[in-house]
Symmetry: C2
Subunit: 128 residues, 2 copies
DNA sequence: TCCTAAATAGTAATGATTACTATTTAATTA
DNA sequence: TAATTAAATAGTAATCATTACTATTTAGGA
């Protein structure tokens, strides 16, 4: 793995993000530092960084995946109204894992919750 | 909602499926009865049937969604090796829902688990 | 049978992502 | 320090599931 300024800036953008940015948003942020960076470079390096375990990918049901600087085990809740993504401390406990494994004969490797809901702002009509 | 033979056959195919077929597989099955059916018609009617609550959509992380005849609340476990999808009886219980709602300020509308694992066949080297 | 809006077939468009290729560059070696 | 080479990039084309569009067909009521 060779150093590249592009990958370095991409990592910085994700690590300094407060929300869960998607590839295009990351691309636009990095462009401020490296104006001629290619979108393909952003995608390639995001995947590399995920493979290295330096960031995580959040799979969205509309297919527009997002990226996450938080590495501790957690899941996400997504506002159906405004699309906001929030971290959630909720995991399958050991008993639940065993129960599913017994029920299905599968060996669980990982489990992510796609929780859908309405956020407080949208509930109060602030957004949509 | 007007009757159409196309929608009727599409529903039949999903209801008589044992696995969780995707749109292309459904299209190919229906083509045996209605050779000149359009793929767009299959997609449109699958979405209509989902909206009507007659079938369900299973969101896959590769973006190639599948369809499910089972309407009772359940989730899915997916084999990372062969792609097989199996139903799982596992839901958030009331306490977990409340806890997440308190933690996030979101009102949960629905929650689906994307559980990944290795199925028995693949574990025994039968598939991949 | 006639009429009209709903549904279809066939094709084009969309949009996120990946693949491809000539060029650039990190970093090793002489 | 300069030459070398494989890894990484920029820019563009391709992919692939899905949706949009439009002329044509059709269900079902008058």
């Amino acid at each position: 793995m060779r150093y590249s300024r592009q990958r370095d800036e991409i990592l910085n953008v994700v690590l300094s993000s407060c929300n869960h940015p998607d590839a295009k948003e990351i691309y636009n942020m990095v462009k401020k530092k490296i104006p001629n960076i290619s979108l393909g470079t952003v995608y390639r390096n995001l995947n590399t960084l995920v493979d290295e375990g330096k960031i995580r990918k959040v799979l969205m049901k509309d297919g527009n995946d997002r990226f996450d600087k938080t590495l501790t085990n957690h899941n996400h809740i997504i506002c159906e109204c405004c699309g906001k993504v929030r971290d959630v401390d909720l995991l399958l406990n050991g008993n639940e894992v065993k129960e599913v494994e017994n029920q299905t004969g599968f060996k669980i490797t990982d489990c992510n919750f796609n929780i859908n809901g309405i956020c407080n702002d949208c509930m109060k009509g602030r957004n949509c």
